[in-house]
């Protein structure tokens, strides 16, 4: 089930909200909290089973395994070696499970390139959201081992943390330490709920109105492949994808945060106007913050971070960014995308460290945007070969024309939507003055978000199925 579907918006969400907020155990606050967690946990499992009826079993077993591992680690507090063995076994088991479903056919496919080797591919599909919930599980197990959090003793609360439907499928990756205190005792207020509704509608608008529109244009430009594409059209296609992925994934994250707020949770911000970044490091502080934070806390710092000299820091960055690329998908173009950023960050950190700060901010901003746009070419392409084909057109390497009549048509179609998106993506709307009168401001908000919601519903009714780009990770 996707958030931007009529079933979710008009049946699932209202039913869950009704069950969640009905004060069925009003006489006992603690009991009421347990009941609400149970409703949210049950609803999350139904949400997941809707699209993955078989893999819900895998998720439940994973929940059962890691819940008990957490308890076992805590029970073995007097035996450091035993604790280390347990956590190591659990991490390996969880990673093997992720690796099996996500990378087995990629590995087999690569082995099959060896002459006379022909291993049949496995008939396994990628369970939706496995990359996200495995990382949440790992954060829990490792933090219990580190003593940062206590093991959860209520399996419903633990299952709710892992399977919580607002962030189950495409994040943000919520670390257990950040949400532990919210599992019980979270606040529900009308203001918080309304704020959640507004953030949700904003996210829905980003996805349905912006991402889907610009995504269709990106598809149209590349419909005939990148062969014969002029440089101007190729750049426009790359810019369209740059906008599409931001509004698609950013929209999903907003919806997740908004839904979480409706149910009383505060999830971390996942995007902070990434396209206003003035360096690659700055970009990654603003893009998919929860994933960068996870790799920092559970891979980069345990490897030694930047404390063990230059050579080791470079190696650590290379490892982290190769893994970041691989996390996004089992294909070489994702590895190339990760390596591309790893290399740029190393360059920024060492040889260019003294030069970059001296460059005027506007030049740094434009350069960063060009680099990010080029990076998305690797990300959006089917293979490294097709990425280089498109890059060849963009940089006039393959002998294609700089511009053609077709690109004028594309610019006419894309110009206005891209301008609107830029205004939103670069934070322009935040600078729009708001009415000082409280009632007028409320009325403006109601009209604006009501209109966005209505427009989204019209688009959803008339559009084809449009899953989120990050679902496949």
């Amino acid at each position: 089930m996707v958030f931007s579907s009529a079933v979710f918006l008009f049946a699932f969400l209202p039913a869950v909200l009704l069950l969640y907020f009905l004060p069925l155990c009003f006489w006992n606050r603690r009991l009421e909290e347990h009941r609400r967690n149970l409703v949210l946990c049950g609803a999350s499992l139904i949400f997941y089973a809707w699209g993955e009826p078989v893999y819900i079993i895998l998720m439940l077993l994973s929940i059962g395994f890691n819940f008990n591992v957490g308890l076992d680690i805590e029970r073995s507090s007097d035996h450091p070696k035993a604790r280390k063995r347990i956590v190591t076994a659990a991490v390996i088991f969880d990673l093997l499970l992720l690796g099996f479903f996500k990378y087995s056919n990629f590995i087999i496919g690569n082995i099959n390139h060896i002459p006379s080797v022909d291993i049949p591919l496995l008939n396994v599909s990628l369970p939706v959201g496995i990359s996200f919930y495995t990382f949440q599980i790992l954060s829990y197990v490792i933090d219990v081992y580190r003593g940062k959090v206590k093991a959860q003793r209520n399996i419903v609360s633990f299952a709710m943390y892992i399977a919580m439907f607002p962030q189950l499928i495409a994040g943000p990756i919520v670390q257990y330490a950040d949400i532990e205190k919210q599992l019980f005792g979270r606040k529900h207020t009308p203001e918080k709920f309304l704020d959640g509704v507004i953030v949700f509608i904003r996210g829905l608008g980003k996805k349905v109105i912006f991402a889907n529109t610009i995504g269709a244009m990106h598809t149209e430009i590349l419909a005939g492949g990148s062969e014969g594409l002029s440089a101007a059209s190729a750049w426009l296609a790359a810019v369209c994808y740059t906008m599409q992925i931001y509004f698609d994934f950013g929209g999903y994250s907003d919806m997740a945060i908004g839904l979480g707020r409706m149910f009383g949770f505060e999830f971390m911000q996942n995007f902070n106007f990434p396209y206003t970044a003035v360096s690659i490091k700055d970009f990654w502080k603003r893009w998919h913050i929860s994933l960068s934070g996870w790799f920092r806390d559970y891979v980069y710092i345990p490897l030694g971070g930047s404390r063990r000299g230059t050579a080791r820091t470079i190696l650590n960055l290379a490892i982290v960014w190769s893994l970041t690329g691989l996390w996004h998908g089992a294909a070489w173009n994702f590895v190339a995308w990760g390596a591309f950023y790893g290399l740029l960050l190393i360059l920024e950190k060492y040889p260019l460290a003294g030069i970059v700060p001296k460059i005027p901010v506007w030049i740094r901003h434009i350069t960063t945007m060009i680099i990010v746009t080029v990076g998305w070419v690797f990300f959006s392409s089917d293979s490294i070969g097709s990425a280089f084909d498109l890059l060849g057109s963009m940089f006039l390497v393959n002998g294609n024309a700089a511009a053609d009549p077709q690109c004028v048509y594309y610019f006419r179609n894309c110009g206005f939507p891209l301008m609107l998106m830029s205004l939103s993506g670069f934070g322009g709307y935040a600078r729009v003055p708001k009415p000082r009168n409280r009632y007028l401001a409320t009325a403006c908000s109601v009209c604006l978000y009501g209109a966005i919601m209505a427009l989204c519903v019209i688009c959803l009714v008339s559009d084809t199925y449009n899953p989120f780009l990050y679902f496949r990770f």
Binding site: L58, F65, L97, N105, N123, V124, E220
Partner: protein, 156 residues
């Protein structure tokens, strides 16, 4: 052995059994989309149809051909001819749901389009074939849907 450890081991064993069960499901055919399509076109009259490129597939279905292991798409040259044949070799089974939803929506939209003034074309659309099996999805709008389906199953 303490209870949590026993339960964790039990869950791990059950997980491995589940993984074994999942991988023992229907096998994936080792044939390519082109091989299957070659057999299909023997029972499917392709006169008046043209083999389309990946780009045209993308334009028609808003799906990228590169996301799949193979795509063979024939559609009619005339806008009044609703016949088409699409064969997709999936990268994994999870792609089947998205693809079949798109194809069902396409049929629904086309039926609305032809409803009332092209009864023969509407009837062809109503008897479409949509089959997902052994890592392939077959979609066909033609005059002999049963024959095409039978050939598809034999070809896998």
């Amino acid at each position: 052995m303490n209870m949590p450890r026993f339960m964790a081991i039990l869950c791990a064993v059950l997980t491995m059994a589940f993984v074994f069960f999942v991988t023992r499901q229907a096998p994936v055919s080792d044939k390519t989309a082109e091989e299957i399509a070659a057999q299909l076109t023997e029972s499917f009259d392709t006169e008046g149809l043209t083999l389309r490129s990946g780009g045209e597939f993308k334009k028609t279905f808003l799906l990228s051909a590169g996301d799949y292991d193979g795509v063979v798409y024939y559609s009619a040259d005339s806008v009044m001819d609703v016949r088409e044949l699409l064969l997709v070799r999936l990268k994994d089974e999870s792609q089947s749901q998205e693809l079949t939803e798109v194809l069902k929506k396409r049929i629904e939209d086309k039926i609305v389009l032809f409803n009332g003034y092209a009864p023969e074309e509407e009837a062809l659309l109503g008897s479409y074939v949509l089959e997902s099996s052994q890592g392939f999805v077959l979609f066909a709008v033609c005059s002999h849907p049963d024959k095409v389906l039978e050939t598809f199953k034999e070809a896998l």
